[in-house]
């Protein structure tokens, strides 16, 4: 599943956020993703890719920035 779809599914299932609100420029904080939930969301990607994200990544603020991080590091 491509990354935006993964984010949308996670937010819909866990935080009841409708998918229409989840676009690339949306701020994660506005979607209910605080620092704890961001860890959970990143963990979701790590589980799907089977490898951990490095610890020194810059904290993403938007959906787009998050997808850049997870896609970039998985080599997509």
């Amino acid at each position: 599943m491509e990354s935006l779809a993964i984010v949308r599914e996670f937010l819909r299932e866990r935080l009841s956020v409708p998918s229409e609100r989840v676009h690339l420029s949306a701020a994660l904080a506005d979607l209910g993703v605080d620092s704890l939930m961001l860890l959970e969301l990143m963990f979701e990607f790590e589980e799907r890719h089977g490898s951990p994200l490095p610890r020194d990544i810059k904290t993403p603020k938007t959906v787009g920035e998050l997808i850049e991080v997870v896609d970039g590091l998985s080599g997509r």
Partner: protein, 414 residues
């Protein structure tokens, strides 16, 4: 300096019967048991025990899925109870503004053991290299209290008490002391536990204190004070009360359920599981003296009454020792016969039963009590059906824990 008085202005719980606190009380009056035969899907040996569950608790409906997902079940039960109590007290449940004179005192015996078990299963059985980042905040013992403080903007002390079966009675007592000392005006006090984790139940089974039962007879498994009693029934649950400084409550026109007049807290310091009459006696005496109650003013005692062979006679002996000739006139009921042993929630749920009994002048029975064990005689056991006690003046609620900690709460009709 006139001593500050503390009253109960809100009550709430998550009920195994699915309704609210008043519905719960009504069913206890009708001697209805919430105990059922619980079978878990664990392999290879599923759990199969009499238990009390809150399967009707609509977690997503009450808390919202987003919030519920950040909570282990013991926090969900706690938050559900806290919401009900806060609302009952007449406070807005969507007001998160900072309240520096309001705090939380929460009891839990086990904390987030279900979250721990999930984590262990993933790590050891499923060989996952890592577990969810939420694991720490799900499992930590203070999670319920923290969530409750966030829900209502409670900025005073937010403390969690782990004292086995006396956890929430202690939480209530310590919250009481804080208000009386002028350090807080309102305290949301209570407790919650979800004890049916696989390892937890197996551990309790190994102590040989769980009542046996099957699908047919599970409802009558817990039989305090009866000569045929066979042990306790583990239940999950959550309960909360709002304690408030009396003048503050009167000034805002709050409904006052009862007055919390005294608290006794002692330790047997003798044995890890075997109860000690003298330690319980000292706790009763302390609560009575703290409340300024005379022996003949107490009309009802909600007993700890777990239905273990040793525990029940020890408690009755302590009551008889303190109250002397008065003891046989005091109505006593062991309501764990119907709602089970709620561990961290036991103290608060039983306090709620005691408060409602005072308020309504009617005491619930000890269900399934057919033959009072001679070792447990000497008090007025309310057996079979509820009893009206007109002009109920004061009542005690007892919690005597593993480890030897004893907590007694003394309530007066307001």
């Amino acid at each position: 300096m006139k001593r500050r008085r503390v009253v109960v202005t809100g009550i709430g719980l998550v009920s195994p019967f699915g309704g609210d606190a008043l519905d719960f009380f009504g069913r206890l009056l009708a001697a209805e048991s919430a105990v059922r035969f619980f079978e878990s899907p664990d392999v290879p040996r599923p759990l199969a025990i009499p238990a009390v569950r809150c399967d009707g608790f609509d977690v997503d409906g009450v808390l919202g899925r987003a919030l519920a997902g950040t909570m282990d079940r013991f926090s969900q039960l706690g938050a559900g109870a806290a919401l009900a109590a806060w609302r009952d007290a007449g406070f807005a449940t969507d007001d998160r503004s900072e309240k520096t004179d309001c705090g939380v005192a929460w009891g839990t015996a086990l904390g987030g053991t279900l979250a721990y078990e999930r984590g262990y299963r993933e790590l050891w059985l499923n060989h996952r290299p890592r577990i969810s980042p939420l694991s720490v905040v799900l499992g930590m013992n203070n999670a319920a209290a923290a969530h409750i403080a966030i829900l209502f903007g409670l900025a005073n002390a937010c403390l969690s008490y782990t004292v086995a079966c006396a956890s929430s009675a202690v939480a209530i007592g310590e919250a009481f002391r804080r208000i009386r000392a002028g350090e807080a005006t309102v305290m949301l006090a209570g407790g919650s536990d979800a004890p049916h984790a696989y390892g937890v139940v197996r551990a309790w089974e190994a102590l040989r204190v769980l009542a046996p039962g099957d699908a047919d007879n599970a409802p009558r498994a817990c039989r305090p004070f009866d000569s045929g009693r066979s042990g306790l029934v583990l239940g999950e649950g959550g309960g909360a009360i709002v304690l408030e400084e009396r003048d503050h409550a009167l000034a805002r026109g709050a409904t006052i359920h009862a007055e919390l007049a005294g608290y006794g807290s002692t330790c047997d310091h003798t044995h890890l599981v075997r109860p000690e009459m003298r330690g319980q006696l000292r706790a009763i005496a302390q609560a009575m003296q703290d409340a300024g109650l005379a022996r003949d003013e107490v009309d009802y005692i909600n007993a700890h009454g777990t239905a273990t062979r040793e525990g029940d006679p020890t408690e009755i002996a302590a009551i008889r020792e303190y109250f002397g000739g008065r003891a046989r006139h005091i109505a006593v009921s062991g309501t764990k016969s119907m709602h089970g042993h709620l561990l961290g929630a036991a103290g608060v749920v039983e306090a709620i039963v005691t408060v409602l009994a005072l308020r309504r002048g009617v005491v619930p029975p000890t269900a399934w009590l057919e033959n009072v064990d001679p070792d447990c005689s000497g008090v007025r056991h309310v057996a079979g059906s509820a009893e009206r006690v007109p002009a109920l003046r004061a009542a005690l609620s007892n919690s005597f824990a593993f480890g030897g900690s004893n907590a007694v709460l003394a309530f007066r009709t307001h």
